[in-house]
Amino acid sequence: MDNQETPRLTVYIDVKSPYAFVALMPTLELERDLGLLFDWKPLTLDIPSYLGSARKDDSGKLIENNRSKSQWSGVKYAYKDARRYANQQGKTLLGTQKIWDSSIANIAISWVSMVDRERLADYMNNVFAQFWERKLDIEDMQVICEILSASKVTTKGFEEFALGEGLEQHDLLQKSFHERGIFGVPTYEFPDEFLFGREHLPYVRWRLLGRPGNAPDIAYLQ
């Protein structure tokens, strides 16, 4: 494919989002199929600001709840929905017990893009899969370093990056989203439009292929 004729695609993603998790595989497949390199960037969701917050103990009992009935219904459906698609992809998706701060894990996406772009899919596959199996404390710098190492990405300088330049870039990016109309993950951004949700992947593919024939409707790829 001639990259000069292909519009640049930025993909915004957050490790703690179940919908980003199930979008990962089909988006990486699209990238690979078309022989492109998408620009993956972190969008660290501030979930309590729009969906309330809640916390469960180890037994699954609710110990903190700032959500309305309708917010709970929406969250429950979202997890159930994402779980069945994760299962279809042969992955495990266990509900989280709290709303995690995923910024370090997300800054690591920028780190890998910068130091070893070829390993980015490995890092994302590892960190997402293990987080959703409840095997990772993604708020722990050391844990993220271990995932980077397991993905064969250098960790030399990562901590400094994650606490300095990387954090600064990350925070600036987060501040820019609402002004640009971006609010969730996964978001697929072309220079002239953006689309929220993996149901737009057929359209994204169609655009990347140069708009052959009629544009497709939304659909979850199987």
Partner: protein, 195 residues
């Protein structure tokens, strides 16, 4: 024959797009489609206000984005779509739905057309009478307006108890799917059930 229940609301733009897409996508599939009403809350984007909280901004831009995407896909699906200038409702037209049998599909198609092409308020008795007449349905149904609307609330509550949260929701063998993006999986499941 496999039964697929679909919960819709005429004022829901996603229901409008899903109705037409579903009829095309599942044409030729051996199944019975049951269209059920589900009263959604109005969802017009709140206007930008001074000192908006982060949550309010999130909600506003999310609704604006959904609207832009609905209009985009309406064009792709070749469906006329115009958002009403004011917050029109469709409760009365929707309340008629459970009382219909054979005329259901024509009635639904026309109700969506009235709402999304002609921007008629389908909570207005005059407009709903016109809709019924055009669908060749006896208008005496509307004589018990309050009863119809009470039943609509009841149907909506029953659906909520099943886990329906918005429209369009597809229910296949007790499993719920929100949105027409699930149609490929739904079709595959129906084919598998029928075989």
């Amino acid at each position: 024959m496999t039964a697929l229940t679909i919960y819709i609301d005429f004022k829901s733009p996603e229901s409008y797009l899903a109705f037409h897409r579903t009829m095309t996508y599942l044409a030729g599939t051996d199944l019975e489609i049951i269209w059920n009403p589900f009263l959604t809350s109005n969802r017009t984007s709140p206007p930008l206000k001074h000192n908006e909280t982060k949550g309010e901004t999130h909600k506003r831009i999310r609704e604006e984005h959904k609207k832009a995407l609905n209009l985009k896909y309406a064009k792709i699906l070749n469906l006329p779509m115009m958002y009403p200038p004011s917050e029109n409702a469709s409760d009365l037209a929707l309340s008629v739905l459970p009382n219909l049998v054979d005329e259901k599909n024509n009635f639904i198609a026309l109700a969506f057309k009235y709402f999304w092409k002609e921007n008629l308020d389908l909570n207005d008795k005059h407009n709903v009478t016109k809709l019924l007449k055009a669908s060749k349905i006896d208008t005496c149904l509307l004589e018990e307006e309050k009863k119809l609307l009470d039943k609509l609330s009841h149907h909506t509550e029953l659906a909520r108890d099943l886990g329906v949260i918005a429209t369009p929701t597809y229910e296949l063998e007790g499993e719920l799917f929100l949105g027409r993006e699930h149609l490929p999986w739904i079709k595959e499941r129906i084919t598998s059930i029928n075989n």
